[in-house]
């Protein structure tokens, strides 16, 4: 921390400083840049290593030093990755679960927020407190009861069995995000609509819903990451290969007796994280904003 003993300076202020002091500040800023660069390299290196390894030959990987570039680039690992596992099916399952859960989270979140924030009712404070519990409580508490319940109603090993808890635990944050947006919709809009004879359903469909598009995108993006990557619910409630999502499918690469074809596994890992990484990089600004606001509102 002592190395950070400098501060942002405004250009005007900088000009008025005597020369040696200015040089010192310049040096300090350079140093900060170098430190940040180093931290970023350490932070991102494991990922880069993952991608580089996925195009290495096995021999190269076994003997190589971790900083060397591959001697030759090969895509055999990817061929083996697709041959070993069932990546296509896994991706399809992940898509179904993610889209299903997101639709539920967005629409039920909107409805809940509309009831709590726009319509309002006597026990709304109590209901809000109820939803707060879901943010604090760890998801593991639901595993045994849901397993027992699903077994009783034959829901084990279905898409719904994963979607229900994923959506249920994400719902509070979704409701809070929509609520805090609805706070800023001026009451006059609703009053005017009411005077024109619009009831609560029409107002929801024609005013609130169209205005919510930005928040819908935020909610969808925050949750898509966590749902796409969910391991614990899928691992508990999915029993057959047919319904395995990507995180579960990846586990298949641990072969008999724990022997692992590492380069092929890393290729499979790359395939599994690339869709989300691409979406993330394309929607970078919106995504970073969504993540930050989603996390703080929760």
């Amino acid at each position: 921390m002592t190395l950070t003993a400098t501060r942002p300076i405004r250009p005007s202020e900088q000009e008025s400083l005597p020369r040696p002091r200015r040089r010192q500040l310049h040096l300090q800023r350079k140093l900060t840049g170098v430190i940040v660069a180093l931290i970023v390299i350490v932070q991102v290196y494991p990922l880069a290593w993952l991608f580089i390894t996925s195009v290495r030959t096995e021999q190269d990987f076994a003997g190589g030093n971790p900083f060397a570039l591959p001697t030759e680039i090969t895509f055999d690992n990817y061929t083996r990755a697709f041959a070993t596992g069932n990546l296509g099916l896994n991706i399809l399952n992940s898509l179904i679960v993610t889209v299903g859960a997101i639709v539920v989270i967005v629409f039920l979140g909107m409805m809940g927020a509309y009831a709590l924030q726009v319509l309002g009712f006597r026990f709304s404070r109590f209901v809000r407190a109820l939803f707060l519990i879901g943010i604090i409580v760890p998801v593991q508490v639901a595993l045994v009861p849901l397993f027992v319940d699903y077994a009783a109603v034959n829901l084990l090993d279905t898409y719904q069995s994963i979607i229900i808890p994923l959506a249920g635990f994400a719902l509070p944050t979704s409701i809070y995000l929509f609520s805090s947006f609805y706070e800023y919709i001026p009451g006059e809009i609703y009053e005017a609509a009411s005077l024109d004879g619009a009831g609560p359903y029409r107002i929801f469909g024609q005013i609130t819903l169209p205005l919510s598009v930005n928040t819908m995108v935020t909610v969808a993006m925050v949750n898509s990451i966590f749902i796409w990557n969910d391991f614990i619910f899928a691992n508990t409630f999915v029993l057959t290969d047919d319904l395995k999502t990507i995180p579960l499918g990846l586990q298949n690469y641990i072969g008999a007796m724990g022997k692992v074809d590492w380069t092929a596994t890393f290729a499979a890992v790359c395939v599994s994280i690339t869709p989300l990484l691409l979406v993330f990089l394309v929607l970078n600004k919106a995504m970073t904003y969504s993540l930050a606001s989603g996390a703080t509102k929760g």
Binding site: P66, P138, L143, V144
Partner: protein, 295 residues
């Protein structure tokens, strides 16, 4: 403060019931069921046997694994918090000093948060391994510290840290973004005035900047703590709690009790404890950080 003058009780129900029903089924009901099951001895097949507080007595007085897991959970939380919040605060502060490249740094820094825990577990299994030599051991060799090489995941003295670090690494970018946004909102005039009064950078930071971002800091601490307390995937996938119980967390212990030993009753007792622990942690954070703010 209802915004709509004309609303029927029915319309409230139409909008409220579907979300409440889903939430009830997925979250509220399981909490009560766990509480209920925690008083029974049940393997899921034979009839349930009411045992009163026996599970609780066993957990607190007769189960050494539980206490090991509890201690490990605390260690796991501390390591995660130091990496995530400490790292986030340092990087966010450094970032405010940069003039160019802030966006690039932000994007790169948060990338690990996008990756699934299974992928991360694979990655770190290979980073830690000794035979074949993984990334860390190769680097140690490379810089001439070959004698420090270690099988990080099999050594009982390093394994807990080894399973905590990936979790810390994964989310530090997220918390950095939040804290960075808060730091940007600190009014420049305040800091300027402090500097004119001769305050050092360090003093300005702790007296002006930090108090200003305290509300965000409290929120971030709560999120990070509750997330760390529910940490499961990475330890479960990397070591499954081993070797022995040296990286067993309450969550992995609960999971194994439920789905390996099929002891639903006792697993629910541990679940109830984890819930209470989370509530207590959130309460404590509020108390501690709030009181400091008042002082």
């Amino acid at each position: 403060m209802p915004m709509l003058p004309q609303r029927s009780r029915l319309s409230v129900l139409v909008f409220l019931l579907p979300p409440l029903a889903l939430y009830g089924i997925a979250v509220l009901l399981p909490i009560f069921q766990s509480l209920f099951l925690s008083f029974f001895d049940w393997d899921g097949i034979s009839p349930m046997l009411f045992v009163g507080f026996e599970n609780y007595v066993r957990m607190f007085t007769g189960d050494t694994v539980f206490w090991i897991a509890f201690r490990n959970t605390l260690g796991y939380v501390v390591i995660c918090l130091v990496l995530q919040l400490g790292g986030a605060l340092i990087v966010a502060s450094l970032l405010t000093l940069l003039r160019r490249g802030r966006e690039v740094v932000k994007t790169l820094y948060i990338l690990p948060a996008v990756i699934s825990t299974v992928a991360i577990a694979f990655l770190f299994q290979r980073i830690y391994s000794l035979d074949p030599e993984g990334l860390i051991n190769q680097v140690l060799e490379f810089i001439g510290l070959g004698n420090l090489q270690n099988a990080w995941l099999s050594d009982v003295s390093t394994v807990l840290a080894a399973v905590s670090v990936p979790e810390g690494w994964r989310f530090t970018g997220l918390y950095m973004l939040i804290i960075y946004a808060a730091l940007l909102a600190v009014p420049a005039e305040l800091e300027e005035a402090a500097k004119l009064d001769g305050a050092s950078w360090w003093q300005t930071f702790w007296r002006i900047r930090f108090p200003y971002i305290r509300p965000v800091w409290i929120t971030t601490t709560i999120i990070a703590t509750t997330n760390a307390l529910r940490g499961f995937d990475i330890p479960y996938l990397l070591t499954n709690g081993g070797p022995g119980q040296s990286s067993e967390l309450l969550t992995t212990y609960m999971y194994k009790t439920a789905f390996t030993s099929t002891n639903y009753g006792y697993a629910s007792t541990i679940s109830v404890f984890v819930v209470v622990e989370c509530l207590v942690a959130v309460g404590l954070i509020f108390l501690l950080l709030r009181r400091k703010a008042d002082a």
